[in-house]
Symmetry: C2
Subunit: 346 residues, 2 copies
């Protein structure tokens, strides 16, 4: 019989609320013969304040034993900026070699966009997850003085770039439009830019049926608001991916519906799925958070584990739910979760 052994990290703020709904929908969608086991982990601001720990080696060992990880959100104003981001979230992405950071954007019918003309938005960003300016390389000298110098080093390797570019080509090939756009800034960041561009062109030769395209990151932000329909699959570095996926979420329904997967395609370590939004402390504990992004992250999780039919059922349920929202009174976090659970079970 089949089983899913899931590590659950509710985290801070609205993280706990949305994860509860994600699990509700997950339980509802799974066939009877699939045994779901979950284990909660208490990472986040509270544990940090109590113990000073963000993510220990023992934590990593414990997490490693699971098939996948579902994360709500980590972060609280009581913790200095960077401590949980670098000490927990990025540490985990790097430790588990989550080099494919997958962020789909689809403007579903009935969903509001700030853009005129209801563009046909349906693309996926494949963001590199373990290199670039996110490595934590760099440092500070003469800190706090008028002679302080702070550096940030973006590290890019042929190994790291090629594997994510190859993954993106394969994803583009599997989609109807078969189009892949490289987003970088190779006219200024010429060292990293040449590496990305050369590898992109080399791998392109192996995928002759995929149409390719290159756009500078600054111009990409223009297209994301003037012609987002032009994109199918985008591959880009860690920082550019961070920036453009927030914009992509904003134009395709907002971060309330933006899902993501931090994927280790080899399966050597468990992949992690999380909404793109943060812990939103301002609305935490009020049942106001939209759990849709987490529910869609559960769909990505299921697809990653091979449950394609169940993933598609969740996506359909969300699509119907969103289409029926217009003009109705706002529902609580749990009400939305309940409605989606009913739909996917049905």
């Amino acid at each position: 019989s089949r089983s899913i052994n899931l590590a659950v990290i509710p985290g801070d703020g609205i993280g706990r609320e949305v994860v509860a709904e994600g699990l509700k929908v997950l339980s509802a969608v799974l066939p009877q013969d699939v045994k779901l086991e979950t284990k909660d982990f208490d990472f986040g601001a509270q544990r940090y304040h109590a113990t000073g720990e963000t993510l220990t080696d023992a934590d990593l060992d414990a997490l490693k034993k699971h098939d996948a990880i579902l994360l709500g959100a980590i972060g609280d104003p009581s913790v200095p900026s960077g401590v949980l981001e670098r000490g927990f979230l990025l540490k985990l992405r790097f430790a588990f070699d989550h080099h494919v950071n997958l962020r789909p954007s689809k403007l579903l019918p009935g969903v509001d966009t700030p853009l005129k003309g209801e563009p046909a938005i349906d693309f996926v960003v494949v963001r590199e997850g373990t290199e670039g300016p996110y490595t934590g390389n760099g440092g500070t000298i003469r800190k706090g003085t008028e002679h302080e110098v702070a550096t940030e080093v973006s590290v890019n390797t042929a190994f790291g770039v090629e594997r994510v570019v190859r993954d993106a080509f394969a994803r583009a090939q599997a989609r109807p439009r078969k189009k892949l756009t490289l987003v970088h800034k190779n006219n200024v960041l010429t060292f990293a830019g040449h590496l990305w561009t050369n590898i992109f062109n080399k791998v392109a030769a192996e995928f002759p049926d995929v149409t390719t395209d290159y756009i500078h990151v600054d111009a990409a932000t223009i297209y994301l608001v003037t012609d987002p329909a032009r994109f199918d699959v985008i591959v880009t570095d860690n920082l550019f991916g961070d920036i453009i996926t927030d914009l992509a979420a904003a134009v395709s329904g907002g971060i309330g519906v933006a899902a993501s997967g931090n994927i280790n395609p080899s399966g050597e370590f468990p992949s992690m799925f999380e909404p793109v939004h943060g812990s939103a402390p301002d609305i935490a504990g009020q049942g106001k958070a939209d759990p849709t992004a987490t529910v869609l992250s559960v769909a990505l999780l299921l697809r990653h584990l091979g449950y394609e039919a169940e993933a598609a059922r969740i996506e359909e349920a969300v699509s119907t739910d969103l289409a029926e929202r217009t003009g109705k009174p706002a529902r609580s976090t749990a009400e939305i979760g309940d409605a989606l659970a009913v739909r996917v079970a049905g």
Copy 2:
């Protein structure tokens, strides 16, 4: 008697066409007693192909003798990516210490925006121009092999950050809303992020009447499409500034109307004014380019040289011209320039 000694760099593609109109409007707006002298420089793709040169020491010496520089656009597909950007444009910005890269965004009446609801967009981005990931620091080892490693080093100094932050505070203080937003990614780029944040907070104490705010660059792209009216003055690093000003241009009328100044506030070296758009080789030579961004860059140039009344006259003329465009047939580059020249003279 007063005089302006202007270096003119038409450059490539539509650069030549738009600069001609910029100069037309400049001549028309200047009072009779101001003597305008211009000298053309032939930088760009053609000279690069003919001589291999992008910008020599002798060129810098010659440019130095001018009060300001007007640039059209540099860049052509026949030149490998990065050669003219690093070899000419960035070299000039760095050599002349253009540390305040000023990019105003204002959605003028009658101008089309991709955003719903015609938001009240009126902000200025002060982009640092001589540091960050633009320094060209970094390198490549094992180039072209499967073991290639390419690095890009973002260099940030207390000296460099403080002067641009101070400039931005002064600009915010001079505006009615007196609000300054720092855009960075201090939760991930913690070395540079702490430097920027600490200096921002330190300088803020000297400007108690300026309201301050901090937003991560990824979230800033969301606000730029969901609530751009929240911004008054933004200060940010070189790369983040590059990215968000293209987006800012897109939501406030497009790069056809986005002006910029590469300013050396001390006056030690001439400042350079240029439209945000590129050389657009696809429409070059057809009289299709909109010279408005260049004309608005001329207004920034005049303001920088102390001709406030003339700068304001150009901005008013552009505003009226844009408001009257709706429903009219498209005009050529020269026709728009002629119309603006008539208006500013009138």
